[in-house]
């Protein structure tokens, strides 16, 4: 690990400060309504703090962080419902470029991603959104891509655009120019308001191969850990918001947190929230250490954190009662994000099955 505990604490503190100052609920609501579809100012702030280079190698000008550091920062990002292309640009696009073998590609692309000057996006899954390799319908042949990808985070905002595409080796990673001929990018109307997506059609688009299947798999795992951290952090925050309400909202002459129904729901949610934090953090350290059970832990975190955040956000609305049914209350913003995050890289049922398969493999 190239980041010391002290350095990490400092980095995290600076990120938290940035979010507290410029990533408030009001900022989130402004970002949602903005033409960019995200908080461009906050994104610049992230770049200014050097956080867009968090997991890029030191040799490439990054901070050299790994899964553990990433996961922790994503908890903060999730808590604040970060409206910026961190997952898309820093984690996945950045991870794929850094994971590629060609020094020229790295030199050309990484500095812009690391500084936050460019927004990176990666077309990863097909229109069916099944999150199996078979679901990738884009194919590469003779340096050109053909096919359709969907659910591309920040696809319409991307300066650096990558795509997973089948070639002879399997699903590899290609770069296309953001304005290339044959490229049709259609912004999607999404239920979650904090993460823009697009559908991208490739019709013989000129492309350059920058990484192979292994880098793709590795980076996707990093993405899953980041998402798990985001979910754990967001679940904890909406839980805390709910606890505050339970302590202050008075009905029947006393705070509603004094009623057993509320207490018991809160106790059950605490288990979910702690489960999510434990799952995300242990997955991060298992991957960072290259533990033999890393796949077990990544798959566990994928569904445990998704389910925990979904359940916590959904129950939070119920526990608030009427006030959370209003647009002006933040609960639904968390609920929307939870529902999106739970499908972003495939549904919990998929990961439950994969978790069991990974356990079988470890025990075999």
């Amino acid at each position: 690990m190239s980041i010391s505990a002290d350095e990490l604490a400092a980095i995290r503190a600076s990120f938290q400060r940035l979010l507290a100052e410029r990533g408030t609920e009001a900022d989130v609501r402004r970002a949602i309504a903005s033409p960019e579809g995200y908080d461009a100012a906050l994104w610049r702030g992230i770049g200014d703090l050097g956080l867009a280079g968090l997991i890029a190698p030191v040799a490439d000008g990054g901070a050299g962080g790994g899964a553990v550091e990433l996961e922790l920062l994503m908890e903060d990002a999730g808590a604040a419902l970060l409206c910026a292309p961190f997952l898309s640009s820093v984690v996945i696009a950045g991870g794929l470029v850094a994971g590629g073998d060609d020094a020229e590609d790295r030199a050309r692309l990484l500095p812009r991603l690391i500084s936050g000057a460019a927004v990176g996006a990666v077309a990863l899954t097909g229109e069916a959104g099944l999150w199996t390799p078979q679901d990738i319908t884009v194919r590469a042949a003779e340096g050109r891509l053909t096919g359709v990808a969907s659910y591309v985070l920040f696809g319409a905002q991307a300066d650096v655009l990558l795509a997973a595409a089948w070639d002879a080796e399997g699903p590899a990673v290609y770069e296309v120019a953001a304005g290339a001929t044959g490229l049709t990018i259609t912004p999607l109307k999404t239920f979650d308001l904090t993460q823009p997506m697009a559908k991208i059609a490739f019709e013989g688009v000129e492309a350059r191969r920058i990484a192979g299947p292994e880098a793709l798999a590795r980076t996707l795992d990093l993405g899953r850990i980041a998402l798990a951290g985001e979910q754990a952090g967001a679940a904890r925050r909406i839980f805390e918001i709910t606890l505050d309400y339970l302590r202050t909202r008075v009905q029947f002459g006393r705070p509603i947190g004094g009623f057993q129904a509320m207490k018991h729901m809160a106790a059950d949610l605490l288990i979910e929230v702690e489960n999510a934090t434990s799952a995300a953090r242990h997955a991060a350290s298992a991957v960072a250490q290259g533990a033999p059970n890393a796949q077990v832990m990544v798959n566990l975190a994928a569904f445990a954190c998704a389910d925990a955040f979904s359940q916590t956000a959904a129950t939070a609305v119920q526990m608030h009662g009427g006030i959370a049914f209003t647009w002006d209350h933040p609960a639904h913003l968390y609920l929307r994000r939870a529902r999106a995050d739970a499908r972003l890289f495939g549904a919990s049922d998929l990961y439950r099955d994969r978790y069991l398969a990974a356990l079988e493999a470890v025990d075999a």
Partner: protein, 394 residues
């Protein structure tokens, strides 16, 4: 009157006034005119007395009329069961008020809304702080209400307000039928999480309620409110809250067809979820059918109280299964993605049933206490003069 004769009469009426094929009143007659015909025939509220538009029919005969109307999708009948406002006014209104509004209510010429909840009084309705003070010109109202649907079009509102601050909270409330179209009533749409503005906030600043529009006794409002609430729960339990979204059968078809067209009806995990969702809905339908049969036999059925709570699980569950069927497509929304938009709307709108009109938690209390006879909740401020309670003092 024999059942056969009644049925014959209803059929003759419908034959004359209703075009069953086009599902609208026959040539020339508008909806308003048709509703007046229904009212005159005594079909609108058949179990009421003749003095008030009824025919004194027993409940089972009244239901026969409904059934005939339902068979041809005609409207206006059976309001003795479904029209919350008309029933409340019949039960608790002054004769002057009845004469003024009952006919309009039963012909849908008068729209009404509910002014119950307040920002500080949701589950704890008895803690409302909207005040009504008696003056020579009637009751003058001051306060703020929320969660009012239909407030923009309503001519009247059922209003719960405090008329005595020096007695315990349940004992100082009165219930009114307040005219809405007057200065001092300010309706502001409330933006909901679904994106709709189905509900409103209503600010009351010097609005006036005529003396004749007091329902029940002064300071006896809590009791009248209970009658009105019981109606509301009944109607929600039968799924009225989601009638816009299609009937149970439509819903069933839509889940199965949705899965089939997504090519996933063969997925064993999904099949379990679909089957369970459909089962909860069908079981609730069967419960309601049994409750109706039991009530027709004169037995009070506890099942009617369960409908709203059951429906809450059904609605949240349906939306969850739909999301599973849609998979990644559930990320989408908007007119371009109608299936996803519908599912997401249902997912959020389900809270209207699990929170609105008494949360699931309140509902469980009510079932446990009123149906199962378990001991009442301890209410620390039940016997305090309202003025001294935390609702006022914070």
């Amino acid at each position: 009157m024999r059942d056969e004769d009644l049925i014959a009469e209803v059929r003759a009426f419908l034959n004359t006034h209703w075009d069953a094929k086009k599902k609208r009143p026959k040539a020339g007659g508008g909806a308003k005119e048709f509703r007046h015909r229904v009212l005159e025939a005594g079909f609108a509220v058949p179990s009421w007395t003749a003095e008030w538009f009824g025919r004194n029919l027993a409940a089972d005969q009244a239901r026969l009329i409904e059934r005939e109307f339902a068979a041809v999708a005609a409207y206006g009948a059976g309001q003795d069961k479904t029209n919350l406002f008309a029933n409340t006014i019949l039960a608790a209104g002054t004769d002057a008020l009845k004469r003024e509004v009952l006919q309009g209510l039963l012909t849908s010429e008068i729209d009404s809304c509910l002014l119950y909840s307040e920002p500080g009084a949701g589950s704890d309705l008895a803690a409302v702080r909207t005040r009504a003070d008696r003056t020579a010109d009637g009751w003058v109202v001051q306060g703020q209400k929320v969660w009012t649907s239909g407030a923009r079009t309503a001519q009247y509102a059922l209003l719960l307000a405090r008329t005595d601050w020096d007695v315990p909270k349940h004992q100082g409330l009165s219930f009114f039928y307040m005219p809405m179209k007057q200065p001092g009533v300010d309706v502001r749409p409330l933006h909901q999480i679904t994106g709709d503005s189905h509900f409103n906030e209503v600010f009351l600043d010097g609005a006036v309620v005529p003396e004749a529009n007091l329902l029940g006794n002064e300071n006896g409002g809590w009791k009248v409110l209970q009658t009105a609430l019981a109606y509301e729960r009944l109607v929600m339990g039968e799924g009225a809250g989601e009638r816009r979204q299609g009937s149970g059968k439509d819903n069933r078809k839509s889940l199965i067809q949705m899965a089939r067209s997504a090519g996933r009806l063969g997925d064993p995990v999904l099949r379990q979820k679909i089957a369970q969702a459909l089962a909860y809905r069908q079981l609730n339908d069967l419960n309601l059918a049994r409750a109706k049969a039991e009530m027709a036999q004169g037995t009070a059925s506890p099942i009617m109280s369960l409908g709203k709570l059951a429906m809450s699980r059904i609605l949240h569950g349906d939306a969850a299964v739909m999301a599973d069927i849609l998979g990644a497509a559930s990320l989408l929304d908007g007119e371009e993605n109608p299936e996803s938009a519908d599912m997401n709307y249902r997912a959020l709108n389900a809270y209207m049933t699990s929170i609105g009109g008494g949360t699931d938690q309140i509902q469980r209390n009510i079932i446990a206490e009123r149906v199962l006879g378990l001991p009442r909740e301890i209410e620390v401020d039940r016997d305090l003069p309202f003025r001294d309670s935390r609702a006022v003092k914070g």
